[in-house]
């Protein structure tokens, strides 16, 4: 079993690359730093794939054919005096291995792609150092054995995301976006932290395995106390899980904590592909999946919330995505929408029966989504490099100029739209099937979202690669090459993955019980979603393939709804109102004023009182000997009288 200790190198290699580049990066010329980091990551990816192979095919199963949870390494990191402890270690189970593969693979692709994309940047080595830090943190998160360990790496991915979003730190918008991302997720993490405290105090442990075991054992004491005590009519356990989910929702940009994700597109595009599409944003899904047992068995209420938040986010984001013109923002909302899919897939599945397939479906979608969304972002990066703009209106007719990009982008669009036989089709079908079983309403939301997804993705596709060549960038032909081989390679690899990932028998590897499950692909069931997706694609083609008046007419038809969607339903404004007007004006400013005026004022008043008091007393000190004598005589007499006649 100890062969899995090698997994420790998976996060450590990127970390070493971070240290190396962080300290000595400035001495490396050209793309050396990038190559160094890529080599390190290649090592990590190789180990991940090796582990995946060994786990899934050789040693992962126990005698009954069930995938085991293996903890090859665990050490006490911080022992609390009260009995809890934060452990650091490695936890290998199907979802962790799946995530290892995803993270290292996408990260490797991004490393390769950035060699060309970021070439000539002033802080090239810093960029790679940050990438290393991020990859390290994300892998650490994936491998966590302990609720607090996951929180630790959770924060670390947050800060690496901050660093990468704010990579162009001389742009005010980049700083604002980075701050926003960090603060919003931090706010969500507050919930996470309190959730951890609630769960740990109920279970008396922070260790995942023990925690899940104690909180799902219906005869155990931990579960009993956690459900018996409550607050506002909701049991402590449900509160804890909801608060933890709040953390997950923040990281995964679920409504209403999503506002940071579109802004996060200020970062370099490969970063968006890595962090804000494929890996970090699915951490919330991963977290819920990690604690799935508790959710499913002990807190169905919390599951319900997860399902609905996911469903609302997916529809909400899809609507907004239809109206945005910045291609990266469209992709960002699309990401949010797809994560909503995964989230409600988890939410709708129960702890047993056929519904539990939702768990597998969510992870499957996570896997396929990582492939095609990373591909979409990397493709968008190509496009943006070609036209030097993020705006859809500056693009058009680029299919000749960027053939590889065009082809791979199309594959990714087909995949995300759920057209068979591309990857997205399979995972989406599984999700819709799971929803159909338990939550028909969410199933319909899913269907509508799927159609919208097809529409806005092909709106993007046709807008970029078809239609009139934008006059604005007519001169863009002379830098019309698509970048070097190493930029194209990731596109091709990801394109292949997007085409074929659906055929992986995912249910054989990842399931809640550890036993293989058969994911549902049923022709009759698939007709509706697929045909709706095709309708979406056709409408997009009709609207955007050639310049047409239809989009404006439709926009006019929807009127204020369209405007609201375009303005992202004013969520940002609401947040601004809360922060600027309430927190700053009504809490922070009064606090600062109170401190300076009242508290400091009191202190100063004491000072002034002492000073004036002593000054007025010092008037007695005239320097005139006779007045002293007068006081002396008078006081002596007084004392004599007092002592003789009043005190005996």
């Amino acid at each position: 079993m100890n062969m899995f200790t090698q997994a420790v190198w998976i996060p450590l290699l990127p970390f070493l690359s971070f240290l190396l580049l962080g300290f000595f990066g400035k001495y490396l010329k050209g793309t050396t730093a990038g190559w160094l980091a890529t080599v390190f990551l290649l090592g990590a990816a190789a180990i991940s794939f090796n582990i995946a192979y060994e786990y899934f095919f050789l040693f992962g199963k126990d005698a009954n054919g069930v995938y085991q949870t293996i903890v090859p390494l665990k050490m006490t990191w911080l022992q609390f005096a009260g009995g809890l402890s934060i452990d650091m270690g490695l936890l290998i189970d199907p979802i962790a291995v799946m995530m290892l593969v995803v993270v290292t693979f996408i990260s490797l692709m991004v490393h390769l792609y950035s060699l060309g994309y970021m070439k000539g940047e002033e802080r090239f080595s810093t960029y790679y150092a940050y990438l290393g830090l991020f990859t390290f943190s994300m892998l650490g998160l994936v491998l966590s054995v302990n609720l607090f360990q996951i929180y630790i790496f959770w924060e670390l991915v947050g800060v690496s995301s901050f660093l990468l979003i704010g990579f162009y730190f001389d742009r005010a918008s980049a700083i604002a976006a980075a701050k926003k991302a960090f603060i919003v997720t931090r706010f969500a993490d507050l919930g996470f932290l309190i959730g951890i405290l609630v769960l740990s105090s109920a279970a008396g442990t922070l260790d995942f395995q023990t925690l899940i075991q104690r909180l799902t054992d219906s005869t155990g004491e931990g579960l009993h106390t956690a459900t018996a005590t409550g607050f506002l009519g909701v049991s402590a356990l449900t509160w804890g899980l909801l608060l933890i989910f709040m953390g997950g929702a923040g990281k995964s940009a679920m409504f209403p904590l999503h506002i940071w994700l579109p802004d996060a597109m200020e970062g370099p595009t490969p970063v968006s592909a890595l962090i804000h599409a494929a890996t970090m944003v699915v951490a919330g899904v991963y977290l819920v999946a990690r604690l799935f047992g508790i959710f499913a068995f002990s807190a169905p209420g919390a599951m319900e919330v997860v399902a609905w938040v996911g469903a609302i986010s997916s529809l909400f984001a899809a609507v907004i995505a239809c109206t945005q013109t910045d291609i990266k923002r469209v992709l960002a909302y699309s990401t949010m929408s797809q994560i909503g899919y995964m989230m409600f897939a988890l939410g709708v599945s129960g702890g047993s029966g056929e519904a539990v397939d939702g768990f597998t479906a969510a992870n499957f979608h996570l896997f396929t989504h990582a492939m095609f969304k990373a591909l979409l972002f990397l493709g968008a990066g190509m496009v943006i490099h070609a036209v030097h703009s993020n705006e859809l209106k500056d693009m058009g007719g680029l299919r000749k100029q960027l053939p590889v990009t065009h082809l791979t982008f199309l594959i990714a669009c087909l995949a995300i739209a759920g057209v068979p036989p591309f990857a997205g089709f399979f995972s989406k079908e599984a999700i819709l099937h799971a929803a159909h079983l338990t939550h028909p309403a969410i199933y319909w939301i899913g269907i509508i979202t799927a159609a919208l997804t097809a529409f806005y993705m092909f709106r993007l596709y046709f807008g970029i690669f078809h239609g009139a060549t934008s006059s604005h960038h007519g001169d863009s032909h002379h830098h019309g090459h698509e970048g070097d081989f190493f930029q194209k390679l990731p596109l091709i690899l990801l394109g292949v993955a997007s085409m074929t990932a659906g055929f992986i028998p995912f249910g054989n590897f990842v399931s809640f019980s550890g036993r293989p499950v058969e994911l549902h692909t049923d022709l009759a069931f698939s007709i509706l979603p697929v045909s709706l997706s095709l309708v979406g694609i056709l409408i997009a083609a009709w609207f955007y393939r050639k310049p047409s008046e239809m989009p404006d007419k439709v926009a006019g038809f929807f009127g204020s709804v369209f405007t609201a969607a375009r303005q992202k339903f004013y969520i940002d404004e609401i947040y601004l109102f809360i922060t600027r007007k309430i927190i700053f004006k009504l809490i922070a400013a009064p606090a600062a004023w109170f401190d300076r005026s009242i508290i400091d004022g009191t202190v100063n008043t004491f000072g002034v009182a002492a000073q004036t008091g002593s000054e007025s007393i010092s008037d007695l000190q005239t320097g005139k000997v006779q007045s002293y004598a007068a006081w002396f005589v008078g006081a002596t007499l007084l004392l004599i009288i007092v002592f003789i006649y009043f005190i005996h």
Binding site: F80, F169, R186, L193, L197, I587, A592
Partner: protein, 500 residues
């Protein structure tokens, strides 16, 4: 290990510095003294580990005890000894003082007196942490006040006279309260008068006396550690003080208070501590949140760090007030961690100020380009302050939170949750400060010309960073030092012998 050396070495260094002729000599001596001190402290830690490892797990005793009669007629002894907690605090002091000497490398105004006072201060702090006799401890506490007044008044900036007066008077007021409390302990605990900490903890003071004297001791030490509402010396004092003095003030001096609250006030009067715990927790929560919110509105980097110190020291008091085993452990961790972090923050602010001559957030910007090292430092200090894992702030704050959560009463839960909220507010103000002073476009062409940190600044930063990283990445090292001590204190606090 002779503990007396710990304050004798800096004291001798201080005196010898008075006889130097130039800046070069003075600073070399000060540096030498602090390096020797660091070795001494390293030796102390090693010796401590050796000695206590024989005692078995979880046993905490004061080792290296020394006792000599000092004022026999008053039963005042020269009595010193250390446990894990004091060793940790001594380690903190050694690091901060060394860094403080290094960042003051180019003090031009009366360097001899400056370094003299700095070393003198450190002698006071060392003495405070090793004392086991309450009077001796008070003596060292007072010793560490006056030099601050001079450091701020002479080498400070801004409205330095005002700040120096305010600081000295408020701290003196705190000491006066402490002394009243100590007299209470002296006369009322046990059958005979005693200032001996060990004896006083062993005997039981009548509860009515505890209830009367506890507020004196706690509030008195609380003034030192910026207990709300006695914190207002902190912003003014820190902002006017020269860099090294700020570092010392926030890094060590505020910890004298926390240490006193824990070691003296709480341990000597556990019953009163139980009784007042809810008030302590409430005040601490106010300090945590209120300090954080007040920080959001500050525009001067030093004020930002000063107010955030109020907030962070609130965690120390929160941990102390919660009185659970983990929370006490967390309070001690937070003392060490905050000491290092805030010293680093002040050092970074000092470096920025030295070059740009402004501390206003609005007048800075884009210094990352010309001063990557200083900026990274600033950034790391900020991240530590907002509790990023891998840096020390995370470890200590989480321990405080976990410990606080162990109190299941609704009121305590509410305050714990409120205190947790500060992690968001902290993120807001730290990122605002970083975003507008470090990042962004360079404010002017002059901002591209600044020189990055010099060797002395780099070493100073490295010393503090090393501490922060060691605690942040391998917290178990520090933890094994302080865990037995915290357990013992928690046990003492759980002692309920007489019903209230």
């Amino acid at each position: 290990m002779n503990l007396s050396l710990l304050f004798i070495v800096p004291a001798i260094t201080a005196v010898v510095i008075l006889f130097t002729r130039s800046l070069q000599q003075a600073r070399a001596l000060a540096l030498g003294g602090s390096v020797v001190q660091l070795f001494l402290v390293g030796n102390l830690i090693a010796a401590f580990q050796r000695t206590t490892s024989g005692l078995g797990d979880g046993v905490s005793d004061f080792v290296f005890q020394q006792r000599m009669a000092w004022f026999p007629s008053l039963h005042i002894d020269y009595f010193v000894g250390v446990d894990g907690i004091s060793v940790a605090m001594i380690g903190l002091t050694a690091l901060v003082v060394l860094a403080g000497v290094l960042v003051s490398w180019n003090v031009t105004k009366q360097p001899r007196e400056f370094f003299f006072l700095l070393m003198f201060l450190s002698a006071g702090a060392y003495g405070f942490f090793i004392s086991l006799d309450l009077f001796l401890q008070f003596f060292f506490l007072e010793l560490a006040v006056i030099p601050k007044y001079l450091l701020i008044g002479i080498w400070g900036s801004g409205k330095k006279e005002y700040s120096a007066n305010k600081l000295a008077l408020m701290l003196m007021g705190g000491s006066a309260l402490v002394f009243v409390g100590l007299l209470g302990v002296y006369f009322r605990s046990g059958s005979t008068v005693t200032f001996d900490w060990l004896r006083a903890t062993g005997s039981i003071m009548p509860v009515s006396d505890q209830l009367f004297f506890f507020p004196f001791l706690f509030l008195g030490f609380g003034v030192f550690t910026a207990l709300f509402p006695f914190h207002t010396w902190v912003p003014d004092g820190h902002s006017s003080a020269p860099t090294a003095a700020s570092m010392f003030l926030a890094g060590i001096s505020m910890k004298l208070g926390g240490y006193g609250c824990l070691r003296v006030a709480m341990c000597l009067m556990p019953e009163a501590a139980q009784y007042y715990s809810v008030y302590i927790v409430a005040l601490a929560t106010i300090a945590v949140l209120y300090g954080a919110f007040a920080t959001m509105m500050q525009t001067d980097l030093k004020y930002i760090n000063a107010y955030s110190s109020v907030s962070h020291c609130g965690f120390v008091l929160l941990g102390i007030g919660m009185m659970t085993r983990s929370s006490i452990q967390g309070a001690v961790l937070q003392m060490v961690s905050h000491g290092l972090m805030t010293a680093l923050f002040f050092a970074a602010i000092g470096m920025l100020y030295e070059r740009t001559h402004t501390r206003k957030v609005s007048e800075l910007g884009g210094v990352m380009k010309s001063m990557p090292f200083v900026s990274t430092l600033f950034f790391l200090a900020g991240l530590c302050s907002l509790g990023l894992p891998g840096l020390s702030g995370f470890v200590s704050e989480m321990t405080v939170f976990v410990g606080s959560w162990e109190r299941a009463e609704t009121g305590y839960r509410v305050m714990t949750v409120l205190s947790c909220m500060s992690i968001v507010v902290t993120a807001v103000y730290i990122l605002r400060a970083i975003g507008s002073s470090i990042m962004g476009a360079p404010r002017s062409a002059a901002f591209l010309q600044f020189k990055d940190a010099a060797w002395n600044e780099r070493v100073a930063a490295a010393v503090l960073m090393a501490g922060i990283l060691i605690i942040g990445i391998t917290p178990f090292l520090l933890n094994q030092l302080i865990l037995p001590g915290s357990e013992k204190i928690a046990q003492q606090l759980q002692r309920i012998i007489l019903p209230l």
